[in-house]
């Protein structure tokens, strides 16, 4: 199982691949939509890749709740 730091860096790589955002920008307090300018469809692609990478399920209704990078990291950490 991945620890918090590993999840954050793994997630940052996914965000970079899907949305072309530098991994250094992807920090816990950032909001996906407001700070990183990621839209709801890119969020779906990020969720799908995160599911594969961390062995979690992120259904659409859950996904809508994950506002910040930190929200996503703790969701993955709890559910992996």
């Amino acid at each position: 199982m991945a620890d918090t730091a590993e999840i954050l860096s793994g997630l940052a790589e996914i965000v970079e691949e899907v949305a072309g955002i530098d991994t250094a920008e992807v920090t816990a307090e950032k909001s996906f939509v407001d700070d990183l300018d990621i839209d709801s469809l890119s969020m779906v692609e990020i969720a799908v890749q995160a599911e594969d990478k961390f062995g979690v399920k992120i259904p659409d209704d859950q996904l809508a709740e994950l506002k910040t990078v930190g929200d996503a990291v703790s969701y993955i950490e709890k559910n992996q």
Partner: protein, 329 residues
Amino acid sequence: MTTFRLPPSVPGARILGLGSSQPEHVVTNDDLAQRVETNDQWIRDRVGIVERRVAQDDVSLVDMAVEAGSRALKDSGLATADIDTVIVATCTMTAPIPNAAAQTADRIGISAPAAFDLNAACAGFCYGLGAAADLVRSGSARNVLVIGAEKLSDWVDWDDRSTCIIFADAAGAAVVTGARSEDEIGVGPVSWGSAGDMANVIRILEESTNKLHQEGQTVFRWATTRIAPVALDAIAKAGLTPADVDVLVPHQANLRIVEAVAKKLRKEGAREDMRVADDIVHSGNTSSASIPMALDHMRAAGRIRSGEIALLVGFGAGLSYAGQVVRVP
């Protein structure tokens, strides 16, 4: 013992001609923004559509099917008398009886063909092409006209901004004939299936508006994860590799889905210079018409050449999906 005689079979099938038809009336994103709360940039970003064509009251689904079918027949060089089977893939007839295929055939001037409609929604053309290729190969048909025709505007809720921005009207067609030798085979085996457990994510709301409803994000997730594997399976079934594909023509559902599928295929070995259909930009999502129309438009624009390998993959309501590789006529 009595034995049945079957018609002689041929090695396979190929596409001999293509055609398409779109109504004249253009609807821009700004036009839609006058009716629902949306804007040009949002639509371009989320679905990649700049404008679409919408049939007015004086253009029927069958009108478009007739025009596309006639053009494909002309392109094939065959005569009306050569066609013995007509398949119309459609999910948007406003009345189920009579079917579209028989009247379309009659208006084109094809006399007494086997004629049937096929509903596999946005996968309809690839289903129809798969069926046509096997009918030809088995000897049940000599030349099949396969048409995808949709007047989605009859079923769109023009006040629902999550669907009215996407769908449009058109028809696209192909003539399928027999391959005389293995070298001539131009339609690969179909890879197809369905996911009826997700039937409710794209449906007509019979209990209320009687209009089309979709759960956009669920559909997006399904399409961006499940369709590339279907495409890869179609390639493998034909004995090819992803690098053999010259042009990718996925159903034009949403440009973001098209790009996601292309990206996945490139990860599996498809070439960087593989061309990817983007007909949705000016045509919208036309369901079963989108694949043959995109092929026809790309060929007319010189973006694909005769003999090149095209990978087709359709997917949509049902949910249903189908794909095959073809040689561009």
